[in-house]
Amino acid sequence: MTRKNINTSTFILLGIVAFGLPLVLRSPTYLHIIILLYLYAYLTTSWNLVGGFAGVLPLGHSAFIGIGAYASTILSLQYGISPWIGMIAGGILAAIVGILIGFPTFKMRGAYFALATIAFGEGIRVMVENIDNLGPLNINGPRGLQIPPTNIGFGNYMFAGKEPYYYIILVMLVCVLALTYFISRSKLGYYLNAGGEEPEAAMSLGVNVAQAKLIAMAMSSFLTSLAGTFYAQFTLYIHPKSVMSLDFSFEIAFIALIGGRGSIAGPVLGALLLRPVSDFSRIYFGSTLPGLHLIIFGTVLILVMIFQPRGLQEPLSKFYNKLLDRISGQTPQGEVKHEYS
Protein backbone atom coordinates (compact mmCIF):
# COMPACT_ATOMS: atom_id res chain seq x y z
CA MET A 1 0.00 0.00 0.00
CA THR A 2 1.27 3.44 -0.81
CA ARG A 3 1.19 6.39 1.55
CA LYS A 4 -1.58 8.01 -0.41
CA ASN A 5 -3.75 4.93 -0.19
CA ILE A 6 -3.27 4.69 3.54
CA ASN A 7 -4.06 8.35 3.95
CA THR A 8 -7.26 8.04 1.95
CA SER A 9 -8.37 4.94 3.80
CA THR A 10 -7.67 6.62 7.16
CA PHE A 11 -9.90 9.51 6.13
CA ILE A 12 -12.66 7.17 4.94
CA LEU A 13 -12.42 5.20 8.18
CA LEU A 14 -12.63 8.40 10.24
CA GLY A 15 -15.64 9.47 8.20
CA ILE A 16 -17.43 6.15 8.73
CA VAL A 17 -16.75 6.27 12.47
CA ALA A 18 -17.91 9.89 12.75
CA PHE A 19 -21.09 9.43 10.74
CA GLY A 20 -21.94 6.01 12.20
CA LEU A 21 -21.31 6.90 15.83
CA PRO A 22 -24.91 7.80 16.81
CA LEU A 23 -26.08 4.41 15.50
CA VAL A 24 -23.87 2.65 18.04
CA LEU A 25 -23.72 5.18 20.85
CA ARG A 26 -27.21 5.44 22.32
CA SER A 27 -26.42 7.32 25.55
CA PRO A 28 -27.70 10.90 25.27
CA THR A 29 -25.10 12.07 27.79
CA TYR A 30 -22.17 10.91 25.71
CA LEU A 31 -23.81 12.16 22.54
CA HIS A 32 -24.23 15.54 24.21
CA ILE A 33 -20.54 15.60 25.16
CA ILE A 34 -19.51 14.70 21.62
CA ILE A 35 -21.79 17.34 20.10
CA LEU A 36 -20.16 19.95 22.32
CA LEU A 37 -16.77 18.58 21.32
CA TYR A 38 -17.62 19.08 17.63
CA LEU A 39 -19.00 22.52 18.41
CA TYR A 40 -15.71 23.48 20.04
CA ALA A 41 -13.73 21.97 17.17
CA TYR A 42 -15.85 24.04 14.78
CA LEU A 43 -15.35 27.22 16.83
CA THR A 44 -11.61 26.76 17.19
CA THR A 45 -11.26 26.06 13.47
CA SER A 46 -13.17 29.25 12.67
CA TRP A 47 -11.05 31.16 15.19
CA ASN A 48 -7.94 29.73 13.58
CA LEU A 49 -8.68 31.64 10.36
CA VAL A 50 -7.77 34.84 12.20
CA GLY A 51 -5.85 33.66 15.24
CA GLY A 52 -3.81 31.10 13.38
CA PHE A 53 -3.32 32.21 9.80
CA ALA A 54 -3.35 35.97 10.34
CA GLY A 55 -0.98 35.68 13.28
CA VAL A 56 -2.85 37.83 15.79
CA LEU A 57 -4.50 36.90 19.07
CA PRO A 58 -8.23 37.70 19.05
CA LEU A 59 -9.77 37.14 22.50
CA GLY A 60 -13.30 38.38 21.91
CA HIS A 61 -14.81 35.78 19.63
CA SER A 62 -17.69 34.98 21.95
CA ALA A 63 -19.21 38.29 20.84
CA PHE A 64 -19.80 36.72 17.42
CA ILE A 65 -21.31 33.62 18.99
CA GLY A 66 -23.64 35.96 20.84
CA ILE A 67 -24.53 37.90 17.70
CA GLY A 68 -25.45 34.69 15.89
CA ALA A 69 -27.41 33.28 18.79
CA TYR A 70 -29.35 36.48 19.45
CA ALA A 71 -30.02 37.31 15.78
CA SER A 72 -31.59 33.97 14.91
CA THR A 73 -33.44 33.67 18.22
CA ILE A 74 -34.96 37.16 18.08
CA LEU A 75 -35.98 36.70 14.44
CA SER A 76 -37.66 33.37 15.13
CA LEU A 77 -39.31 34.38 18.43
CA GLN A 78 -40.70 37.73 17.30
CA TYR A 79 -41.14 37.40 13.57
CA GLY A 80 -41.51 33.67 13.12
CA ILE A 81 -38.60 33.52 10.71
CA SER A 82 -36.95 30.11 10.51
CA PRO A 83 -33.64 29.98 12.42
CA TRP A 84 -32.00 28.70 9.25
CA ILE A 85 -32.59 32.09 7.65
CA GLY A 86 -31.82 33.83 10.93
CA MET A 87 -28.54 31.97 11.01
CA ILE A 88 -27.48 33.52 7.71
CA ALA A 89 -28.73 36.95 8.81
CA GLY A 90 -26.74 36.67 12.04
CA GLY A 91 -23.71 35.56 10.08
CA ILE A 92 -23.85 38.58 7.78
CA LEU A 93 -24.32 40.89 10.77
CA ALA A 94 -21.35 39.28 12.51
CA ALA A 95 -19.21 39.63 9.39
CA ILE A 96 -20.03 43.34 9.20
CA VAL A 97 -19.21 43.80 12.89
CA GLY A 98 -16.04 41.78 12.36
CA ILE A 99 -14.91 44.10 9.58
CA LEU A 100 -15.82 47.17 11.65
CA ILE A 101 -13.75 45.94 14.58
CA GLY A 102 -10.96 44.62 12.39
CA PHE A 103 -10.50 47.83 10.46
CA PRO A 104 -9.00 49.91 13.28
CA THR A 105 -7.49 47.03 15.28
CA PHE A 106 -5.42 45.19 12.69
CA LYS A 107 -2.96 48.06 12.65
CA MET A 108 -2.11 47.29 16.26
CA ARG A 109 0.57 44.95 17.42
CA GLY A 110 0.17 41.78 19.49
CA ALA A 111 -0.79 42.86 22.97
CA TYR A 112 -2.88 45.86 21.90
CA PHE A 113 -4.89 43.76 19.48
CA ALA A 114 -5.63 41.19 22.17
CA LEU A 115 -6.73 43.92 24.59
CA ALA A 116 -8.89 45.65 21.98
CA THR A 117 -10.74 42.44 21.15
CA ILE A 118 -11.29 41.73 24.85
CA ALA A 119 -12.72 45.21 25.39
CA PHE A 120 -14.89 44.85 22.32
CA GLY A 121 -16.26 41.45 23.38
CA GLU A 122 -16.89 42.56 26.95
CA GLY A 123 -18.37 45.84 25.77
CA ILE A 124 -20.95 44.02 23.63
CA ARG A 125 -21.80 41.71 26.53
CA VAL A 126 -22.32 44.62 28.92
CA MET A 127 -24.54 46.36 26.37
CA VAL A 128 -26.71 43.29 25.84
CA GLU A 129 -26.98 42.87 29.60
CA ASN A 130 -28.22 46.43 29.95
CA ILE A 131 -30.66 46.65 27.06
CA ASP A 132 -34.14 45.24 27.43
CA ASN A 133 -35.55 46.55 24.17
CA LEU A 134 -33.56 47.70 21.20
CA GLY A 135 -36.13 49.51 19.08
CA PRO A 136 -38.74 46.90 18.27
CA LEU A 137 -36.43 44.04 19.24
CA ASN A 138 -36.84 42.44 22.63
CA ILE A 139 -33.38 41.47 23.92
CA ASN A 140 -34.45 40.92 27.51
CA GLY A 141 -31.22 42.08 29.11
CA PRO A 142 -29.46 39.80 31.59
CA ARG A 143 -32.41 37.38 31.78
CA GLY A 144 -31.72 36.09 28.30
CA LEU A 145 -34.07 34.48 25.83
CA GLN A 146 -35.80 31.16 26.05
CA ILE A 147 -36.90 29.24 22.97
CA PRO A 148 -40.10 27.28 23.67
CA PRO A 149 -39.65 23.75 22.30
CA THR A 150 -43.04 23.57 20.63
CA ASN A 151 -42.53 23.50 16.87
CA ILE A 152 -40.28 20.53 16.38
CA GLY A 153 -39.17 20.01 12.83
CA PHE A 154 -36.32 20.53 10.42
CA GLY A 155 -37.65 23.89 9.23
CA ASN A 156 -37.59 25.20 12.77
CA TYR A 157 -34.09 23.90 13.50
CA MET A 158 -35.50 22.00 16.45
CA PHE A 159 -35.46 18.29 17.10
CA ALA A 160 -36.61 15.89 19.80
CA GLY A 161 -33.50 13.75 19.88
CA LYS A 162 -29.84 14.63 19.87
CA GLU A 163 -28.94 12.75 16.68
CA PRO A 164 -30.03 15.48 14.21
CA TYR A 165 -27.95 18.04 16.10
CA TYR A 166 -25.04 15.65 15.93
CA TYR A 167 -25.25 15.44 12.16
CA ILE A 168 -25.75 19.18 11.70
CA ILE A 169 -22.67 20.12 13.68
CA LEU A 170 -20.67 17.30 12.07
CA VAL A 171 -21.52 18.60 8.59
CA MET A 172 -20.69 22.13 9.70
CA LEU A 173 -17.34 20.94 11.06
CA VAL A 174 -16.49 19.07 7.86
CA CYS A 175 -17.41 22.13 5.77
CA VAL A 176 -15.30 24.52 7.83
CA LEU A 177 -12.37 22.11 7.73
CA ALA A 178 -12.65 21.84 3.95
CA LEU A 179 -12.84 25.63 3.71
CA THR A 180 -9.73 25.98 5.87
CA TYR A 181 -7.95 23.44 3.70
CA PHE A 182 -8.74 25.38 0.52
CA ILE A 183 -7.85 28.72 2.07
CA SER A 184 -4.51 27.42 3.31
CA ARG A 185 -3.70 26.43 -0.26
CA SER A 186 -5.06 29.59 -1.85
CA LYS A 187 -3.51 32.97 -2.52
CA LEU A 188 -5.35 34.35 0.51
CA GLY A 189 -3.76 31.73 2.74
CA TYR A 190 -0.27 32.63 1.59
CA TYR A 191 -0.99 36.34 1.97
CA LEU A 192 -2.21 35.77 5.52
CA ASN A 193 0.77 33.66 6.41
CA ALA A 194 3.18 36.19 5.01
CA GLY A 195 1.39 39.07 6.71
CA GLY A 196 1.30 37.24 10.03
CA GLU A 197 5.01 36.43 10.00
CA GLU A 198 6.52 39.58 8.54
CA PRO A 199 3.95 42.27 7.75
CA GLU A 200 6.53 44.80 6.53
CA ALA A 201 8.25 42.34 4.21
CA ALA A 202 4.93 41.12 2.84
CA MET A 203 3.71 44.66 2.19
CA SER A 204 6.90 45.56 0.40
CA LEU A 205 6.26 42.64 -1.94
CA GLY A 206 2.89 44.12 -2.82
CA VAL A 207 0.72 41.97 -0.58
CA ASN A 208 -2.29 43.82 0.73
CA VAL A 209 -1.93 42.48 4.28
CA ALA A 210 -4.71 44.57 5.79
CA GLN A 211 -7.22 43.46 3.15
CA ALA A 212 -6.29 39.79 3.55
CA LYS A 213 -6.69 40.05 7.31
CA LEU A 214 -10.06 41.77 6.97
CA ILE A 215 -11.33 39.02 4.66
CA ALA A 216 -10.14 36.41 7.14
CA MET A 217 -11.81 38.30 9.99
CA ALA A 218 -15.10 38.56 8.09
CA MET A 219 -15.08 34.84 7.29
CA SER A 220 -14.11 33.90 10.82
CA SER A 221 -16.83 36.02 12.42
CA PHE A 222 -19.44 34.77 9.91
CA LEU A 223 -18.60 31.14 10.66
CA THR A 224 -18.40 31.71 14.41
CA SER A 225 -21.83 33.29 14.42
CA LEU A 226 -23.34 30.22 12.69
CA ALA A 227 -22.18 28.19 15.69
CA GLY A 228 -24.00 30.70 17.89
CA THR A 229 -27.30 29.85 16.19
CA PHE A 230 -26.54 26.17 16.57
CA TYR A 231 -25.80 26.65 20.28
CA ALA A 232 -29.06 28.57 20.77
CA GLN A 233 -31.13 25.90 19.03
CA PHE A 234 -29.30 23.10 20.82
CA THR A 235 -29.67 24.45 24.36
CA LEU A 236 -32.89 26.45 23.71
CA TYR A 237 -31.82 29.08 26.22
CA ILE A 238 -29.33 31.88 25.76
CA HIS A 239 -28.24 34.66 28.07
CA PRO A 240 -25.30 37.07 27.85
CA LYS A 241 -23.19 35.26 30.44
CA SER A 242 -23.50 31.95 28.61
CA VAL A 243 -22.94 32.89 24.98
CA MET A 244 -20.85 36.04 25.35
CA SER A 245 -18.63 35.39 28.34
CA LEU A 246 -14.94 36.15 28.32
CA ASP A 247 -14.24 32.60 29.50
CA PHE A 248 -15.82 31.29 26.31
CA SER A 249 -13.55 33.48 24.14
CA PHE A 250 -10.50 32.41 26.09
CA GLU A 251 -11.39 28.74 25.94
CA ILE A 252 -11.75 28.84 22.15
CA ALA A 253 -8.42 30.59 21.72
CA PHE A 254 -6.55 28.30 24.09
CA ILE A 255 -7.90 25.04 22.74
CA ALA A 256 -6.75 26.17 19.29
CA LEU A 257 -3.35 27.23 20.64
CA ILE A 258 -2.76 23.97 22.49
CA GLY A 259 -3.72 21.99 19.41
CA GLY A 260 -1.57 24.13 17.15
CA ARG A 261 -2.47 27.48 15.64
CA GLY A 262 -2.16 27.93 11.92
CA SER A 263 -2.53 24.26 11.11
CA ILE A 264 -5.66 22.53 9.87
CA ALA A 265 -5.69 19.59 12.25
CA GLY A 266 -4.43 21.51 15.29
CA PRO A 267 -7.64 23.13 16.54
CA VAL A 268 -9.65 19.93 16.07
CA LEU A 269 -6.96 17.98 17.86
CA GLY A 270 -7.02 20.47 20.71
CA ALA A 271 -10.77 20.09 21.13
CA LEU A 272 -10.47 16.31 20.85
CA LEU A 273 -7.89 16.18 23.64
CA LEU A 274 -9.11 18.91 25.99
CA ARG A 275 -12.91 18.81 25.86
CA PRO A 276 -13.12 15.27 27.30
CA VAL A 277 -10.68 16.28 30.07
CA SER A 278 -12.87 19.19 31.09
CA ASP A 279 -16.16 17.27 30.72
CA PHE A 280 -15.07 14.21 32.65
CA SER A 281 -13.30 16.10 35.40
CA ARG A 282 -16.47 18.13 35.80
CA ILE A 283 -18.61 14.98 35.90
CA TYR A 284 -16.45 13.03 38.34
CA PHE A 285 -14.71 15.71 40.40
CA GLY A 286 -17.09 18.64 39.94
CA SER A 287 -18.27 18.58 43.55
CA THR A 288 -15.13 17.40 45.33
CA LEU A 289 -12.43 19.17 43.33
CA PRO A 290 -13.98 22.26 41.73
CA GLY A 291 -11.92 23.93 39.05
CA LEU A 292 -9.72 20.88 38.53
CA HIS A 293 -10.20 20.95 34.77
CA LEU A 294 -9.01 24.54 34.60
CA ILE A 295 -5.88 23.69 36.58
CA ILE A 296 -5.19 20.88 34.10
CA PHE A 297 -5.98 23.28 31.29
CA GLY A 298 -3.58 25.93 32.54
CA THR A 299 -0.80 23.42 33.17
CA VAL A 300 -1.16 21.88 29.72
CA LEU A 301 -1.21 25.35 28.20
CA ILE A 302 2.05 26.36 29.90
CA LEU A 303 3.81 23.08 29.15
CA VAL A 304 2.76 23.12 25.51
CA MET A 305 3.86 26.73 25.08
CA ILE A 306 7.27 25.99 26.63
CA PHE A 307 8.02 22.69 24.92
CA GLN A 308 5.87 22.69 21.77
CA PRO A 309 5.11 26.30 20.85
CA ARG A 310 3.62 25.16 17.56
CA GLY A 311 1.07 23.05 19.36
CA LEU A 312 0.47 19.38 19.92
CA GLN A 313 -0.23 18.72 16.25
CA GLU A 314 3.47 18.86 15.44
CA PRO A 315 4.74 15.84 17.41
CA LEU A 316 1.55 13.93 16.64
CA SER A 317 1.72 14.50 12.91
CA LYS A 318 5.39 13.51 12.97
CA PHE A 319 4.41 10.32 14.74
CA TYR A 320 1.63 9.71 12.22
CA ASN A 321 4.05 10.17 9.32
CA LYS A 322 6.52 7.76 10.88
CA LEU A 323 3.74 5.25 11.32
CA LEU A 324 2.81 5.69 7.67
CA ASP A 325 6.40 4.99 6.67
CA ARG A 326 6.49 1.88 8.78
CA ILE A 327 3.29 0.52 7.25
CA SER A 328 3.98 1.48 3.67
CA GLY A 329 7.63 0.53 3.88
CA GLN A 330 8.50 3.62 1.89
CA THR A 331 11.02 6.30 2.63
CA PRO A 332 9.50 9.67 3.38
CA GLN A 333 9.25 11.89 0.37
CA GLY A 334 12.21 14.11 -0.26
CA GLU A 335 14.40 12.22 2.15
CA VAL A 336 17.09 9.74 1.19
CA LYS A 337 17.51 6.76 3.39
CA HIS A 338 21.11 5.76 4.02
CA GLU A 339 21.73 2.17 4.79
CA TYR A 340 25.01 0.91 6.07
CA SER A 341 25.73 -2.70 6.55
Partner: protein, 295 residues
Amino acid sequence: MIYILEDAINGVLMGSIYGLTALGLTLIFGVLKVINFAHGSLLMVGMYAAYWTIILTGVHPYVALIIVAPVMYLFGYYLQDIVIKPIFKAEKDVREPITVIIVTTGVWYILDNLTLLIFGPTYRNIQDNPLKGKMLEIGEMFISVPKLWGFFTAVITAFAIYCFLQKTRMGRAIRATSLDREAASLMGINQFKVYNVAFGIGTATAGIAAVTLVPFYNIFPSVGVLFDIKGFIIVVLGGLGSIGGAILGGIIIGLIESIAPQFMTATWTEAIVYGLFLVVLFVKPSGLFGVKYDW
Protein backbone atom coordinates in the same frame (compact mmCIF):
# COMPACT_ATOMS: atom_id res chain seq x y z
CA MET B 1 -24.05 69.09 44.70
CA ILE B 2 -22.34 68.10 47.93
CA TYR B 3 -23.19 64.48 47.14
CA ILE B 4 -21.46 64.66 43.81
CA LEU B 5 -18.38 66.10 45.50
CA GLU B 6 -18.51 63.32 48.07
CA ASP B 7 -18.80 60.73 45.30
CA ALA B 8 -15.98 62.38 43.39
CA ILE B 9 -13.63 62.28 46.38
CA ASN B 10 -14.44 58.66 47.12
CA GLY B 11 -14.06 57.93 43.41
CA VAL B 12 -10.59 59.46 43.38
CA LEU B 13 -9.63 57.44 46.45
CA MET B 14 -10.91 54.16 45.02
CA GLY B 15 -9.42 55.07 41.64
CA SER B 16 -5.98 55.53 43.12
CA ILE B 17 -6.25 52.02 44.56
CA TYR B 18 -7.21 50.77 41.09
CA GLY B 19 -4.13 52.58 39.85
CA LEU B 20 -2.03 50.85 42.50
CA THR B 21 -3.30 47.46 41.34
CA ALA B 22 -2.33 48.37 37.78
CA LEU B 23 1.11 49.71 38.71
CA GLY B 24 2.78 46.32 38.50
CA LEU B 25 1.06 45.62 35.20
CA THR B 26 2.45 48.76 33.62
CA LEU B 27 5.93 48.19 35.07
CA ILE B 28 6.07 44.63 33.76
CA PHE B 29 4.82 45.74 30.37
CA GLY B 30 7.33 48.55 30.21
CA VAL B 31 10.24 46.18 30.72
CA LEU B 32 9.16 42.82 29.36
CA LYS B 33 6.80 44.19 26.66
CA VAL B 34 4.31 41.61 27.81
CA ILE B 35 0.79 42.01 29.12
CA ASN B 36 0.72 39.95 32.28
CA PHE B 37 -2.71 38.34 32.26
CA ALA B 38 -1.94 36.73 35.60
CA HIS B 39 -1.65 40.09 37.34
CA GLY B 40 -5.14 39.95 38.84
CA SER B 41 -4.42 36.48 40.12
CA LEU B 42 -1.21 37.71 41.74
CA LEU B 43 -3.30 40.41 43.41
CA MET B 44 -5.67 37.68 44.60
CA VAL B 45 -2.74 35.65 45.99
CA GLY B 46 -1.58 38.80 47.77
CA MET B 47 -5.05 39.28 49.25
CA TYR B 48 -5.09 35.75 50.62
CA ALA B 49 -1.57 36.20 51.98
CA ALA B 50 -2.61 39.44 53.70
CA TYR B 51 -5.83 37.87 54.95
CA TRP B 52 -4.10 34.96 56.62
CA THR B 53 -1.32 37.12 58.03
CA ILE B 54 -3.85 39.44 59.64
CA ILE B 55 -6.13 36.65 60.84
CA LEU B 56 -3.34 34.54 62.32
CA THR B 57 -1.35 37.30 63.97
CA GLY B 58 -4.11 39.79 64.67
CA VAL B 59 -2.00 42.79 63.69
CA HIS B 60 -3.17 46.05 62.14
CA PRO B 61 -3.88 45.40 58.41
CA TYR B 62 -1.05 47.62 57.22
CA VAL B 63 1.52 45.86 59.38
CA ALA B 64 0.93 42.84 57.12
CA LEU B 65 2.85 44.75 54.44
CA ILE B 66 6.10 43.72 56.14
CA ILE B 67 5.33 40.11 55.32
CA VAL B 68 3.19 40.34 52.18
CA ALA B 69 5.38 42.61 50.04
CA PRO B 70 8.62 40.56 50.35
CA VAL B 71 6.77 37.28 49.94
CA MET B 72 5.08 38.55 46.80
CA TYR B 73 8.40 39.87 45.49
CA LEU B 74 9.96 36.42 45.80
CA PHE B 75 6.85 34.81 44.32
CA GLY B 76 7.00 37.05 41.26
CA TYR B 77 10.77 36.73 40.95
CA TYR B 78 10.66 32.96 40.79
CA LEU B 79 7.48 32.83 38.73
CA GLN B 80 9.28 34.79 36.02
CA ASP B 81 12.51 32.84 36.52
CA ILE B 82 10.95 29.37 36.31
CA VAL B 83 7.85 29.71 34.14
CA ILE B 84 8.25 32.69 31.83
CA LYS B 85 12.00 32.87 31.21
CA PRO B 86 12.17 29.64 29.16
CA ILE B 87 9.78 31.14 26.61
CA PHE B 88 11.74 34.35 26.34
CA LYS B 89 14.83 32.28 25.67
CA ALA B 90 13.02 30.26 23.01
CA GLU B 91 11.56 33.33 21.31
CA LYS B 92 14.49 35.67 21.64
CA ASP B 93 14.02 37.32 18.26
CA VAL B 94 10.32 38.04 18.55
CA ARG B 95 9.75 41.64 19.50
CA GLU B 96 6.46 41.15 21.24
CA PRO B 97 6.01 37.53 22.13
CA ILE B 98 2.34 36.50 22.06
CA THR B 99 3.31 33.15 23.53
CA VAL B 100 4.19 34.82 26.83
CA ILE B 101 0.72 36.35 27.05
CA ILE B 102 -0.70 32.87 26.69
CA VAL B 103 1.56 31.44 29.37
CA THR B 104 0.56 34.14 31.84
CA THR B 105 -3.05 33.20 31.17
CA GLY B 106 -2.14 29.62 32.05
CA VAL B 107 -0.70 30.92 35.32
CA TRP B 108 -3.94 32.81 35.91
CA TYR B 109 -6.06 29.64 35.43
CA ILE B 110 -3.83 27.62 37.73
CA LEU B 111 -3.60 30.20 40.55
CA ASP B 112 -7.32 31.01 40.58
CA ASN B 113 -8.48 27.43 40.55
CA LEU B 114 -5.82 26.19 42.94
CA THR B 115 -7.07 28.82 45.38
CA LEU B 116 -10.62 27.66 44.76
CA LEU B 117 -9.53 24.10 45.46
CA ILE B 118 -7.69 24.97 48.68
CA PHE B 119 -9.84 27.70 50.24
CA GLY B 120 -13.21 27.06 48.61
CA PRO B 121 -15.51 29.60 46.98
CA THR B 122 -16.47 31.39 50.25
CA TYR B 123 -16.33 35.15 50.41
CA ARG B 124 -14.02 36.13 53.24
CA ASN B 125 -13.45 39.46 54.91
CA ILE B 126 -11.71 40.59 58.03
CA GLN B 127 -14.50 41.42 60.45
CA ASP B 128 -12.65 42.98 63.36
CA ASN B 129 -10.01 45.24 61.91
CA PRO B 130 -9.51 48.82 63.04
CA LEU B 131 -10.22 50.24 59.59
CA LYS B 132 -13.41 48.43 58.66
CA GLY B 133 -16.34 50.66 57.86
CA LYS B 134 -14.66 53.76 59.33
CA MET B 135 -15.80 57.07 57.94
CA LEU B 136 -14.22 60.48 58.11
CA GLU B 137 -16.78 63.25 58.48
CA ILE B 138 -15.98 66.52 56.75
CA GLY B 139 -18.92 68.86 56.92
CA GLU B 140 -21.74 66.81 55.41
CA MET B 141 -19.44 64.50 53.52
CA PHE B 142 -18.41 61.01 54.51
CA ILE B 143 -15.00 59.85 53.32
CA SER B 144 -14.04 56.21 53.64
CA VAL B 145 -10.98 55.90 55.89
CA PRO B 146 -9.57 52.60 54.52
CA LYS B 147 -9.72 54.09 51.02
CA LEU B 148 -7.92 57.19 52.26
CA TRP B 149 -5.16 54.96 53.58
CA GLY B 150 -5.14 53.23 50.20
CA PHE B 151 -4.82 56.57 48.41
CA PHE B 152 -1.73 57.56 50.39
CA THR B 153 -0.23 54.11 49.97
CA ALA B 154 -0.76 54.33 46.20
CA VAL B 155 0.90 57.75 45.97
CA ILE B 156 3.84 56.72 48.16
CA THR B 157 4.34 53.45 46.26
CA ALA B 158 4.25 55.15 42.87
CA PHE B 159 6.71 57.78 44.07
CA ALA B 160 9.01 55.14 45.56
CA ILE B 161 9.04 53.15 42.33
CA TYR B 162 9.69 56.29 40.34
CA CYS B 163 12.68 57.16 42.56
CA PHE B 164 13.92 53.58 42.40
CA LEU B 165 13.83 53.65 38.59
CA GLN B 166 15.52 57.04 38.39
CA LYS B 167 18.15 56.89 41.12
CA THR B 168 19.37 53.35 41.72
CA ARG B 169 21.70 51.25 39.63
CA MET B 170 19.13 48.49 39.22
CA GLY B 171 16.51 51.07 38.28
CA ARG B 172 18.76 52.38 35.52
CA ALA B 173 19.35 48.84 34.30
CA ILE B 174 15.58 48.30 34.19
CA ARG B 175 15.03 51.49 32.23
CA ALA B 176 17.83 50.66 29.83
CA THR B 177 16.38 47.21 29.19
CA SER B 178 12.93 48.62 28.59
CA LEU B 179 14.31 51.03 26.01
CA ASP B 180 16.41 48.55 24.07
CA ARG B 181 17.07 45.10 25.36
CA GLU B 182 19.86 44.23 22.91
CA ALA B 183 21.81 47.43 23.55
CA ALA B 184 21.33 46.96 27.29
CA SER B 185 22.73 43.43 27.20
CA LEU B 186 25.68 44.70 25.16
CA MET B 187 26.38 47.13 28.01
CA GLY B 188 26.73 44.18 30.34
CA ILE B 189 23.24 44.18 31.81
CA ASN B 190 21.93 40.71 32.53
CA GLN B 191 18.63 40.92 30.69
CA PHE B 192 16.95 38.01 32.45
CA LYS B 193 18.02 39.16 35.89
CA VAL B 194 16.40 42.52 35.10
CA TYR B 195 13.25 40.74 33.97
CA ASN B 196 13.15 38.77 37.20
CA VAL B 197 13.58 41.87 39.35
CA ALA B 198 10.99 43.84 37.35
CA PHE B 199 8.50 41.01 37.61
CA GLY B 200 9.25 40.70 41.32
CA ILE B 201 8.67 44.41 41.93
CA GLY B 202 5.50 44.31 39.84
CA THR B 203 4.21 41.42 41.91
CA ALA B 204 5.22 43.14 45.15
CA THR B 205 3.13 46.20 44.18
CA ALA B 206 0.24 43.82 43.58
CA GLY B 207 0.85 42.62 47.14
CA ILE B 208 0.82 46.21 48.44
CA ALA B 209 -2.43 46.86 46.55
CA ALA B 210 -3.83 43.67 48.07
CA VAL B 211 -3.08 44.93 51.59
CA THR B 212 -4.86 48.21 50.89
CA LEU B 213 -7.91 46.30 49.60
CA VAL B 214 -8.16 43.69 52.34
CA PRO B 215 -9.59 45.97 55.10
CA PHE B 216 -12.75 46.74 53.10
CA TYR B 217 -12.98 44.30 50.20
CA ASN B 218 -14.23 40.74 49.96
CA ILE B 219 -11.67 38.04 49.28
CA PHE B 220 -12.61 35.16 47.00
CA PRO B 221 -10.75 33.06 44.40
CA SER B 222 -11.91 34.95 41.30
CA VAL B 223 -11.55 38.45 42.77
CA GLY B 224 -8.53 39.03 40.53
CA VAL B 225 -10.55 38.92 37.34
CA LEU B 226 -12.40 42.11 38.31
CA PHE B 227 -9.11 43.92 38.69
CA ASP B 228 -7.50 42.21 35.72
CA ILE B 229 -9.76 43.73 33.07
CA LYS B 230 -9.84 47.04 34.92
CA GLY B 231 -6.05 46.97 35.09
CA PHE B 232 -5.71 46.50 31.33
CA ILE B 233 -7.99 49.44 30.70
CA ILE B 234 -6.14 51.63 33.22
CA VAL B 235 -2.69 50.95 31.82
CA VAL B 236 -3.78 51.59 28.24
CA LEU B 237 -5.55 54.80 29.31
CA GLY B 238 -2.51 56.00 31.20
CA GLY B 239 -0.05 54.76 28.61
CA LEU B 240 1.52 51.32 28.85
CA GLY B 241 4.76 51.58 30.77
CA SER B 242 4.03 54.90 32.48
CA ILE B 243 4.05 54.82 36.30
CA GLY B 244 2.24 58.10 36.87
CA GLY B 245 -0.13 57.30 34.02
CA ALA B 246 -1.27 54.15 35.81
CA ILE B 247 -2.34 56.10 38.91
CA LEU B 248 -4.03 58.82 36.82
CA GLY B 249 -5.73 56.21 34.63
CA GLY B 250 -6.98 54.51 37.77
CA ILE B 251 -8.36 57.78 39.09
CA ILE B 252 -10.20 58.38 35.79
CA ILE B 253 -11.84 54.96 36.05
CA GLY B 254 -12.65 55.55 39.71
CA LEU B 255 -14.28 58.89 38.91
CA ILE B 256 -16.37 57.42 36.10
CA GLU B 257 -17.52 54.61 38.36
CA SER B 258 -18.49 56.92 41.19
CA ILE B 259 -20.05 59.85 39.32
CA ALA B 260 -21.72 58.23 36.30
CA PRO B 261 -24.28 56.30 38.42
CA GLN B 262 -25.74 59.71 39.41
CA PHE B 263 -26.93 60.11 35.85
CA MET B 264 -27.71 56.58 34.67
CA THR B 265 -28.15 52.98 35.71
CA ALA B 266 -25.04 51.85 37.55
CA THR B 267 -24.45 48.88 35.25
CA TRP B 268 -24.03 51.18 32.26
CA THR B 269 -20.82 52.64 33.69
CA GLU B 270 -19.01 49.47 32.70
CA ALA B 271 -20.05 50.02 29.08
CA ILE B 272 -18.79 53.62 29.26
CA VAL B 273 -15.44 52.41 30.54
CA TYR B 274 -15.09 49.91 27.69
CA GLY B 275 -16.16 52.53 25.17
CA LEU B 276 -13.61 55.04 26.47
CA PHE B 277 -10.97 52.34 26.37
CA LEU B 278 -11.68 51.51 22.73
CA VAL B 279 -11.71 55.18 21.76
CA VAL B 280 -8.32 55.77 23.39
CA LEU B 281 -6.98 52.60 21.80
CA PHE B 282 -8.05 53.71 18.34
CA VAL B 283 -7.24 57.39 18.59
CA LYS B 284 -4.14 57.44 20.76
CA PRO B 285 -2.81 53.94 21.43
CA SER B 286 0.13 55.33 23.37
CA GLY B 287 -2.37 56.38 26.03
CA LEU B 288 -3.16 59.73 27.59
CA PHE B 289 0.18 60.12 29.35
CA GLY B 290 2.31 57.49 27.65
CA VAL B 291 5.51 57.90 25.77
CA LYS B 292 5.18 57.44 22.04
CA TYR B 293 6.76 54.15 21.03
CA ASP B 294 6.52 52.47 17.68
CA TRP B 295 4.14 49.71 18.72
